[in-house]
C-alpha cells in the first residue's frame, strides 16, 4: 500500500518489472500459506481442465444424436443398484451418458461465464475510465445510468430480455443462438460494477503527481488512462472479476433452468439440472443432483478464490 503511494513520480517511465515481482511474491507467499486457497485453486484447475478437454475425455459426444439411445435413459450411477458399467455416473432422461454431458455442460457454463464477464469488463472499464477522466456532465449522466441499470437487477433484465427474444423468434431459432444471447445479456447488464470501481480509482489516481507529470509531458488522455491509470485499477478489477465470473455462471444456470438459456439438446449445467428436475420426484435424483453438485463446487471455489484475493490485495471496492 505505502509502496505505491510513497513512490516518487518517476516521470512517465513504465512501472518497473521489479515491482511486479514483489507483488507477485506477496500473492505467492499468501497463497502458499493458505490451505483453502490452494485447495480451491486445485479444484478449480481440475474442473476447468476436465471441462476444456471434454472432447478428449468424454466417452460419448452428447451433441451427436447417433450416440444417444433413448433406451439407455435414466440408468443410475455405478454405486446404485441397476446401473450399467459403461455409464459410471448414469444417464439422463434422453439416454445420454451423464459424465460426458456434465463435462460438455461445464465447458459451456464456464465459457459463457467468462465471456460474459469479458464483455462486462470491456464495457465497464471503458465507461468507468471515460466517466472518471472526463468528469462533469458526462460523468453524472453515466453514473446515473449505472444506478438505474443496477437497480433493475441483472437477472430480471435477462429474464425479460430472453423471454421476449424467445417469444419473438421461437425456441427453435433462439436455441441456436442461445450462447450469444446469454453472453450478451449477462455481459451488458452488469457493466456498472466495473464502471463504478474503475471510476473511483480514476478519481483517486487523477489527483496524484505522476498523472500530472504525464499530462505536463504532453501525453494524450488515452495514453494516460491506459498506461498510467488503468494499471493502478488492476487489483480491484481483478477482485471483481472473480466474483463476477461466479455470478455469471449462476445467472446462466438460472436462466437455462427457466428454459431461457441453453436448450436441452445442448445442455449447460443449468439446463441439465432443469431437465432432471422433472424426474426427481420419480427417484432419478442423479440427473439433477450430480450436475448440481458440480455447479455448486465450481461456483464455490471461484468465490473462495475471490475472497482470498480480496483479502490479499485489499482494494477499496465500491460497495452498494
Amino acid at each position: 500500500m505505502s509502496g505505491q503511494t510513497a513512490e516518487p513520480a518517476v516521470i512517465a517511465a513504465p512501472r518497473p518489472s521489479r515491482f511486479r515481482a514483489v507483488w507477485d511474491s506477496k500473492i505467492g507467499y499468501n497463497f502458499r500459506r493458505n490451505p483453502v486457497a490452494i485447495a480451491s485453486m486445485a479444484i478449480f484447475l481440475i474442473i476447468t481442465g476436465l471441462a476444456f478437454f471434454a472432447p478428449l475425455i468424454a466417452p460419448y459426444n452428447p451433441y451427436d444424436p447417433a450416440q444417444i439411445d433413448i433406451m439407455n435413459s435414466e440408468y443410475p450411477p455405478s454405486w446404485v443398484a441397476g446401473s450399467l458399467p459403461e455409464f459410471w455416473l448414469g444417464t439422463d432422461d434422453q439416454g445420454r451418458d451423464l459424465w460426458s454431458t456434465i463435462l460438455y455442460g461445464t465447458r459451456l457454463s464456464i465459457i459463457i461465464g467468462v465471456c460474459a464477464v469479458l464483455v462486462q469488463a470491456v464495457l465497464g472499464i471503458s465507461i468507468g475510465l471515460i466517466s472518471g477522466y472526463v468528469g462533469g456532465r458526462t460523468d453524472s449522466i453515466l453514473m446515473r445510468l449505472a444506478d438505474i441499470q443496477l437497480s433493475f437487477s441483472t437477472l430480471m433484465v435477462a429474464i425479460i430480455f430472453l423471454a421476449l427474444t424467445q417469444a419473438l423468434f421461437g425456441s427453435e431459432v433462439f436455441g441456436r443462438y442461445a450462447v450469444v444471447f446469454l453472453i450478451a445479456v449477462i455481459g451488458v447488464a452488469e457493466w456498472p460494477q466495473y464502471a463504478r470501481t474503475v471510476r473511483a480509482t480514476v478519481l483517486a489516481e487523477k489527483k496524484k503527481e505522476y498523472v500530472d507529470s504525464a499530462r505536463v509531458l504532453g501525453f494524450g488522455p488515452g495514453r494516460i488512462m491506459l498506461r498510467h491509470i488503468l494499471p493502478n485499477s488492476m487489483s480491484p478489477i481483478f477482485v471483481i472479476s472473480t466474483v463476477q465470473v461466479a455470478n455469471a455462471i449462476i445467472s446462466e444456470a438460472s436462466l437455462s433452468f427457466l428454459g431461457l438459456g441453453m436448450p436441452p439438446s445442448q445442455p449447460s449445467l443449468g439446463s441439465l439440472i432443469s431437465s432432471g428436475f422433472d424426474y426427481i420426484l420419480s427417484g432419478s435424483w442423479w440427473i439433477t443432483v450430480i450436475p448440481g453438485v458440480v455447479l455448486v463446487v465450481l461456483v464455490l471455489v471461484i468465490n473462495l478464490l475471490g475472497d482470498w484475493i480480496r483479502d490479499v490485495l485489499n482494494p477499496k471496492l465500491y460497495r452498494g
Binding site: 443496477l150 439440472i273 427417484g283 455448486v296 464455490l300
Partner: protein, 326 residues
C-alpha cells in the same frame, strides 16, 4: 422533507413512463392481435377493417397515448389464454407472490442483522467462522438449486414437507388468500420462503459484517469507547445505525433481484404466483399478460424503491438537509 418527497415522486413517475413505453413497444411487436382474435382463415379485407377499428393504423403517439390512458384506468388488455382482463389475472396471483416475498424478507431481516453483527463483533470466534463458511457456501448455490435440493431432501426422501403448491389457504378479503392462517399453509410456504432467501441471507450477513467492521474502526466509535459507554450500547446504538445506512441502499438495489428469484422459486415449487404465471405467459406468447406483468412488477419495484429511499432519508439525518436544499 416535502421537496425531497416531490422529487422522489417525479422520479418514480418518469421511471413508470419509461416502463410503459417498453410495455407498449412489446405489445406492438410481439405476437399478432388479429390472429389471436380472428384466427387465420379470414380475408385480407376483414383484417384491414379490424385493424382500422382497433386503431392499429393510427400514428404511434396516438396509439401510445391510448395505451397509457387505458393503463391508467387499469385496462392492460385481455389475456389471450385466460380470456380475462390481464390485470385481474395478475391481481389474483399477486397475494401468493407477496406472501412468499414477505416470508423470505422476514427470514432475511430477522437473521442477517443478528448474524452480521455477531460475526463483526466476534470475528475470531468459532461460531463466526462457521457462519462465514456457511455464508460463502450459501451465495454459491443458485436459488433454484437450493429449492430443488430441499424438495429432494425434505419432500422426496424424508417426506416431511409438501413439495408444491400453496396448500390450504384462508380467504381474508378481496383477492387475498393467506398461507399464514392454517397449519397446512405454513407447511407449504416454509420451503419456498427459505429457498427464496437462500442467496440474499448470506449476502446480507456478509455485507452487514463488512460494514459493521468498518464502522467499529471509526473515530466516533473510538470516541464512544473513550466516553466509557457500555459495549452493547456502542454496538447497537452507535455502530448499528451507521452500519444499516449502506445496507438499506443495497437492500433497495436487491428488490429487483428478489422479483427475479420469485420467478425461479415459484417455478420449482409450482407456486401459483405472478412469477410462474409470467413464464407460462411467455411460453404461450400471451402478450397482454406479459406486458401487464412487466407494468405491475415495474410499479411494485418503483413503489418499494421509493419507500426504501424514504426510509433511508428518515434514518440518515444528513440526507434531509442536503437534498432539501438541492
Amino acid at each position: 422533507m416535502f421537496a425531497y418527497l416531490v422529487k422522489r415522486i417525479l422520479q418514480a413517475i418518469a421511471v413508470m413512463l419509461a416502463i410503459s413505453m417498453i410495455g407498449f413497444a412489446i405489445q406492438g411487436n410481439l405476437g399478432d392481435p388479429l390472429r389471436e382474435l380472428l384466427g387465420q382463415s379470414v380475408s385480407e379485407e376483414v383484417r384491414q377493417q379490424l385493424r382500422e377499428d382497433l386503431g392499429l393504423n393510427d400514428p404511434f403517439l396516438v396509439q401510445y397515448m391510448r395505451f397509457l390512458g387505458n393503463a391508467l384506468q387499469g385496462d392492460l388488455g385481455t389475456s389471450y389464454f385466460f380470456k380475462e382482463p390481464a390485470l385481474e389475472v395478475i391481481l389474483k396471483k399477486f397475494p401468493a407472490t407477496m406472501e412468499l416475498v414477505f416470508g423470505a424478507t422476514l427470514i432475511i431481516v430477522g437473521l442477517s442483522v443478528p448474524l452480521g453483527v455477531y460475526t463483526a463483533i466476534r470475528p475470531n470466534s468459532i461460531a463466526s467462522k462457521v457462519i462465514m463458511a456457511l455464508s460463502i457456501v450459501g451465495i454459491s448455490i443458485p436459488v433454484f438449486l437450493t429449492a430443488i435440493l430441499m424438495i429432494y431432501l425434505f419432500a422426496v426422501e424424508l417426506g416431511w414437507m409438501p413439495s408444491f403448491g400453496r396448500g390450504e389457504t384462508v380467504h381474508v378479503f378481496g383477492y387475498w388468500d393467506t398461507n399464514f392462517l392454517s397449519a397446512d399453509g405454513w407447511a407449504h410456504i416454509i420451503m419456498p420462503s427459505v429457498a427464496l432467501s437462500s442467496i440474499m441471507l448470506p449476502l446480507f450477513v456478509r455485507l452487514i459484517r463488512a460494514e459493521m467492521m468498518d464502522v467499529l474502526q471509526s473515530e466516533y466509535v473510538r470516541f464512544a469507547r473513550a466516553k466509557g459507554i457500555a459495549p452493547w450500547r456502542i454496538y447497537f446504538i452507535h455502530a448499528l445505525k451507521n452500519t444499516m445506512l449502506p445496507v438499506i441502499t443495497v437492500g433497495g438495489v436487491q428488490i429487483g433481484t428478489m422479483v427475479a428469484y420469485t420467478i425461479l422459486t415459484e417455478t420449482v415449487f409450482s407456486w401459483p404466483g405472478m412469477g410462474s404465471m409470467f413464464l407460462e405467459a411467455v411460453n404461450r406468447v400471451d402478450t397482454p399478460l406479459i406486458v401487464a406483468y412487466l407494468i405491475v412488477v415495474g410499479f411494485i419495484f418503483v413503489i418499494t424503491n421509493t419507500i426504501v429511499d424514504l426510509i433511508y432519508g428518515l434514518v440518515n439525518p444528513t440526507v434531509k438537509l442536503s437534498r432539501m436544499g438541492a
